[in-house]
């Protein structure tokens, strides 16, 4: 009985039924050329597999791995951890600690203000003059402290490189007329808003703000933007010196 390549191939993979496996096994025992042929077919697999392994021995490109990382919710947690760690490392007046934490927790996404690429100037609640003062704080101050900007207080919380290459900052703006968590990026020499989350006062400690949804939801938005880790203090200072231009 003639044994075909198809039978030998499937025999090689142990994909024949018991009867066919026995049939081919007996044929191989009786005919040495069948054994040679099966070895040749098997060698094809070996060569093809080894070639694929050889060609792909280098590491998977970092940007592809990073894409998986950015999509992982575990990164949201680690991102939050990094943010907390960064805040902890930066000098903060003791009296502001609770307030800062409240503001950080308030950074959630109830509206996530997916307001697109609006120029902060003009589109922001508040006037252009107010924004110029906010922008001046973003331009010149590292994260972790509050700064007066006219009739509002600005606290830069975090700085990072956007996946599109722009340098961005998350910060809060609080005052009589507004309490917002904002993400803005420096593009074409000016700060442009990417995301805004209105915050409302809670009934808890004075000065604390929060929104109805969890802070993790804002972190999810951040994780869709951020490339790599947030800037550390030294990197922020370098960014200030370069006027936040990449």
């Amino acid at each position: 009985m003639k044994i075909t390549d198809e039978q030998l191939s499937a025999f090689l993979d142990n994909e024949l039924d018991d009867e066919q496996m026995a049939l081919v096994r007996d044929a191989i025992a009786a005919d040495e050329t069948l054994c040679d042929r099966m070895a040749t077919l098997s060698m094809v697999d070996h060569v093809v597999k080894r070639a694929a392994e050889q060609a792909t021995t280098g590491p998977v490109p970092e940007h592809i791995v990073a894409r998986c990382d950015s999509a992982s919710e575990s990164n949201v947690v680690s991102f939050a951890d990094r943010k907390a760690e960064q805040t902890a490392q930066q000098p903060t007046p003791n009296s502001d600690t609770r307030w800062l934490r409240g503001m950080a927790m308030a950074a959630s996404v109830a509206l996530v203000g997916l307001l697109g690429w609006q120029q902060l100037m003009g589109d922001q609640p508040g006037d252009a003059g107010q924004w110029q003062q906010i922008a001046a704080v973003l331009d010149s101050q590292t994260s972790g402290s509050r700064y007066s900007a006219g009739d509002v207080t600005v606290m830069p919380q975090l700085s990072f490189v956007h996946q599109d290459g722009a340098l961005c900052r998350q910060f809060t703006v609080s005052g009589q007329s507004r309490n917002d968590a904002v993400i803005a990026c420096k593009q074409d020499g000016s700060w442009q808003q990417r995301t805004l989350v209105p915050m409302t006062p809670t009934n808890g400690q004075a000065g604390e703000y929060q929104t109805a949804t969890s802070a993790h939801e804002l972190d999810k938005v951040l994780d869709t933007m951020i490339k790599g880790a947030p800037l550390n203090r030294e990197q922020e200072q370098q960014a200030i010196q370069s006027n936040w231009q990449q």
Binding site: L8, A10, K49
Partner: protein, 173 residues
């Protein structure tokens, strides 16, 4: 995609990359295909009744069919050294008689349906049934395509070259 799935995907990247290479035949195209596959996977929900790896193969394979094969990117890359990654040494010996370049050239002669079956079974180690599920064809079709692929490559790699077979003798059909 859930947290667990994206973590699994990250762990699967080397395997998926190998599959992408087997399909495209060049690392330049393979990494491009891998990136597109990952993007697609991250934005497209994984069906409840499909395992992530099988789903990943399917997405990768469909992208290859739709974009690379149709646009002849693979063929263009094979013949354009500038698209090849510098670190891939095409002269690397796969066996004492066969180089990586020769394997790539031999694979490129296979019809796509045979190439994808050989990649899934021989390189990825899938069963016929799992391969059939990925490709949405009967397992009998997998068996026949695979046998033809192996026969064709055996002829190109060992017979036409006069390469010594695994027993050290000239192989015969």
């Amino acid at each position: 995609m859930t947290k667990t799935q994206s973590e699994q995907l990250k762990a699967m990247l080397p395997v998926l990359r190998r599959f992408a290479y087997s399909l495209t035949g060049s690392m330049a195209d393979a990494d491009d295909l891998l990136q597109n596959t990952v993007e697609k996977l991250l934005t497209k929900p994984v069906p409840d009744d499909v395992e992530l790896l099988a789903w990943s193969y399917r997405i990768c394979r469909n992208l290859w069919i739709d974009e690379y094969r149709a646009n002849k990117v693979r063929q263009a890359a094979v013949h354009n050294p500038e698209l090849q990654q510098a670190e891939v040494d095409a002269t690397a010996q796969i066996t004492s008689d066969i180089t990586l370049k020769q394997v790539e050239s031999a694979m490129a002669t296979l019809p796509d349906d045979q190439r994808e079956v050989l990649s899934l079974v021989a390189v990825q180690g899938l069963s016929y049934q799992d391969t059939a599920n990925v490709l949405s064809v009967p397992s009998g079709t997998v068996m026949s395509r695979l046998a033809r692929a192996r026969s064709k490559l055996a002829q190109i790699l060992f017979l036409e070259k006069g390469t010594k077979g695994p027993n050290g003798n000239e192989v015969t059909a």
